[in-house]
Subunit: 123 residues, 2 copies
DNA sequence: ACTAGTGTTCTATTTCTCTATTACACTATT
DNA sequence: AATAGTGTAATAGAGAAATAGAACACTAGT
């Protein structure tokens, strides 16, 4: 796993697992790899993984069952809400950043469209 | 100045000054406040400000003159290039994040447009 | 009962960021 | 010359993040 050294690893692990849940790579009710296996997967320490999981457990997205494992919540509403929340955060963040670079709404949209067409042609 | 505790302060100071240069709040050739004044302005330590400045000096955006002060480069090409670079980074980052949330290109554009219209109505 | 596989917690250590403080180097003004 | 205002650098210390390692609590299969 690739880490941005400007952001805490535990936070990036959390974001990554959230993405897998939203993408459907991890289904509702599905068991996650064990904390020790996750630590190996992302080349981090068990404690660091545990910290990421703790926050997701506190948020109600992950159900922890001692001795059994960690499971994605069965409550699909929570997952939908999470997705909405993350989208809103990302869109707001991106808009504010680009606005701070003196781009108008139209220029922001055009920059994004331009990026998409370029990306579309490559793949 | 508002700091995101997930990102190093020196890095946020750097980004903030870059934005001021691109916005034109800081003009080419213009003298920046002294490092000690900047430290007071953002409520950070002189060393932290100096670290941010060092990276901008290394990037050629700021010219440092010992005993005189720090100045925005006169080379407007460098500023234009910086703006292009920052825009590309932000657009790419935003796209990848939203793509990782399972949004199609069209959905990404719609989310952004929706955000813009909502924001437009409030202000 | 035993064992292996889970989550959980604790301590010690390292690294990085940030702060505080001091000192040094240079410029301009008086 | 003296002084004030600049950038620059070095040291020491506090705090957070991450690591390594060990131990504890619970579950399931044998």
């Amino acid at each position: 796993m690739h880490f941005d050294d400007k952001i805490p690893i535990y936070y990036q692990i959390k974001t990554n697992i959230y993405h897998e849940i939203i993408m459907g790579t991890l289904q509702p009710g599905e068991k996650l790899p064990s904390v020790r296996q996750l630590a190996l997967d992302v080349t981090a320490n068990v404690n660091t993984v545990q910290r990421a999981l703790s926050e997701m457990i506190a948020a109600g997205i992950i159900d922890s069952k001692r001795g059994k494992g960690n499971f994605v919540t069965m409550d699909e509403t929570k997952i939908t809400d999470l997705k909405t929340q993350l989208i809103t955060e990302q869109v707001a963040r991106a808009y504010q950043q680009l606005h701070a670079l003196n781009l108008s709404d139209e220029e922001i949209l055009n920059s994004l469209k331009h990026y998409m067409t370029q990306r579309g042609n490559v793949e």
